[in-house]
Subunit: 130 residues, 3 copies
Amino acid sequence: MQQLPALVVLLAVLLQFGTMFAVGRARGKYGIHAPATSGHPAFERAYRVQMNTLEAVLLFLPTLWLAARYGFAGWAGVAGLAWIVGRTWYALAYLRDAARRGGGYVLGMLAWAAVLVMAVIGLARALLLA
Amino acid sequence: MQQLPALVVLLAVLLQFGTMFAVGRARGKYGIHAPATSGHPAFERAYRVQMNTLEAVLLFLPTLWLAARYGFAGWAGVAGLAWIVGRTWYALAYLRDAARRGGGYVLGMLAWAAVLVMAVIGLARALLLA
Amino acid sequence: MQQLPALVVLLAVLLQFGTMFAVGRARGKYGIHAPATSGHPAFERAYRVQMNTLEAVLLFLPTLWLAARYGFAGWAGVAGLAWIVGRTWYALAYLRDAARRGGGYVLGMLAWAAVLVMAVIGLARALLLA
């Protein structure tokens, strides 16, 4: 259970790579040459998925680190797996249709909120006992 | 003092969340539907604030980690609090008017530079003593 | 050799700062006022370099952390230096001409893939021995 957050980090890296790959493929398929980031709705969705995933990763990983460091490695790892499921669902749904991204988004945010609560409790405990 | 960098990480996470929230609210208020990222100046400012905050966080957190790991946890934590103040000021000012973002930006950069100096000194010391 | 990943983190921070600096300079040179992120091809290239560097850093640093934590600090550090070379080459080439960004990109991806393999092996070993 102590290694679970590290597994979540690995999966978050692979999720990011997947969303980058989707953008590269859409660049080729729709003939959008860098540095352009617009020109076809499907490319624009792939690009938004990549950027939203990046934003979510940068919000999530520091929170995961805090929770894991301050006594919640196991539970934060479990919530982290739920976050991976939510963000993967979000990415796959959004690539097809922007209107379908809600479910995965909500699951990802709930999982992040759970880890945030652990981080706050763990850090508050450490500050009060210091 | 040893937990101060962790508190700064938590505040950086909350700052990011705040800038995401401002983008979501501006999407609703000005009727900008994803995947669009333009269409109204106030939305575009909110989006730039989110992206600039993201860039600043990804520059700052690894620097903070280096300084804290190599013997400057307390001072890096203090500079980190100044960075949080600067970046929050930047975000709030820029949301109203792009021309007012200078003060917070400068404070954030000075705080980052201070932590960078600590990181360089700490790492150089570790490399030379190894 | 144990401090090599930390040196790579420091260089990744400086690389990010360099790409931010190039965007700021291009804003001034071509008169692109925030929050705009388009208006001149050279500015747009600088902006894409910054964003692509940011994406690459957020993909690379967690992978580097995993590999360093799970027994490959030295080798991951060496691959990290190759990644820094590749990403710096990419940034300098892309700033001049988008068509020339291939070489640095490939070197960066190969170095990342090497660190990813180390991370997967190290983490799998830790999970199996737990």
